[in-house]
């Protein structure tokens, strides 16, 4: 099969009009004197172009379809939390604390559930913590312990790790629901 294809290719190569080949080779040999490649002639007089009108006013309809480059501010809803569970930051509440957690550019909490060692170590990472990170860590642990005692009838000690330079806290155990509750109660 392969040989057959090669033969066909050779045939094709020989079937090209030799006069065209000569013309092309002469074009490439003298780069400075290269002629434009032959193109299909367009008869402008006989051709019928479709008519076009320019309108700058109607561009606003096009603008609606274009994706916004920057994440827009969230719209005002009738009630909170919204059906998806989103709550806006409450500035009065959060002014009491010596720390705060900034939202991401998509207006969500910077809480990330992680798994290590094939899923045997469950962790939650909280990023973008500003202010007194050690106080935040203490309050968070106390809150999560209380939540577990209340909802699951268990007494647990929560372990966490503070990364002061990167402004992050790692909590052991997948308690992201309680942590997000804590952030909502603080009003961040």
């Amino acid at each position: 099969m392969h040989r057959y294809l090669i033969k066909l290719n050779k045939l094709n190569a020989t079937m090209v009009n030799p006069s065209v080949l000569v013309a092309y080779s002469s074009n490439f040999s003298k780069l400075s004197e290269r002629k434009p490649l032959p193109s299909r002639p367009i008869n402008l007089e006989g051709h019928e172009f479709t008519s076009v009108t320019e309108s700058k006013e109607e561009f606003k309809y096009v603008k609606k379809l274009l994706p916004s480059l920057v994440v827009p501010d969230p719209p005002e809803h009738d009630f909170y939390p919204t059906p998806s569970g989103w709550v806006p930051p409450n500035n009065e509440k959060c002014s009491k604390f010596p720390y705060f957690v900034l939202r991401t550019r998509f207006h969500n909490f910077p809480i990330y559930a992680l798994e290590r060692e094939g899923g045997s170590r469950k962790l939650v990472k909280i990023k973008r913590i500003e202010g007194d990170i050690w106080k935040f860590d203490e309050d968070l642990r106390n809150y999560v312990e209380k939540c577990i005692e209340k909802n699951e009838d268990k007494k647990l000690t929560i372990y966490s790790q503070v990364n002061e330079v990167q402004r992050q806290v790692m909590v052991k155990g997948h308690y992201q629901d309680y942590i997000s509750k804590f952030l909502i109660e603080c009003g961040f």
Partner: protein
Amino acid sequence: MASTLPLITSRNLWKLSPLQKPVQSWVETLAQVEDKKVGLVDLHPKIFAVSPRLDILAKNVYWQHQYKKIDYRWVPTRAEMPGRNKKPWQQKGLGKARHGSRLSPQWMHGGVAHGPRGPKSYFFMEGFYQRIAGLTTALTVKFHQNDLHIVDSLDIPTENFQYMEQLINERFWGPSVLFVDDTDMMPFNITAACSKIKGLTLMPTYGLNVYSMLKHNTLVLTTKSLDKLEENLLYYLHHSQFRNSPFIKKVA
């Protein structure tokens, strides 16, 4: 001059979270030698008050060293050595060690095994958000070490280099200063004055980078370049795509 003071008192900061407070900086002027404050500006805390991540700074500096580095070292292998590749002596009967070639690497004047080969590029692109974080941390570090100064413009009265020397000595701006302006066409006087003194660099905003910020003792930004810098950095901190390829153009 005194009638128009202060020039600037506040600035609108885009995408400022109500939880964060803006940091403030004096606006100075190069119009006279004495250090006279012309106004106050608010600086965005997401750019001028971030956590000083020195590891990110180091990463950026490493990237700026590496991406333009080319290793030109080259040594020939045994196949590329000049000379005949003949068997030096027969295999048996002489009581000598067995050898097949004089060019093999254990021989004197032989080729080199696993040597450095040819021009090698070390080009790589640091992650986009790492580069953004590098710029913000460098600006923060400069600002909090009191090495960042904001001026109204780069206009100076004379083209005499001694004026610039006096000004820098008066304000303790150190031997090397980096002036950053909005445009790449600088005013004539400052270009003439800076060309006579070593260590003074003029740079447009788009050329600002981590390495030169750390290399120079002080960084001097004009208010226009500050606006442009903040606008661009904040755009990339808040844009809607997740961007990791470095060559996408901003559309509008």
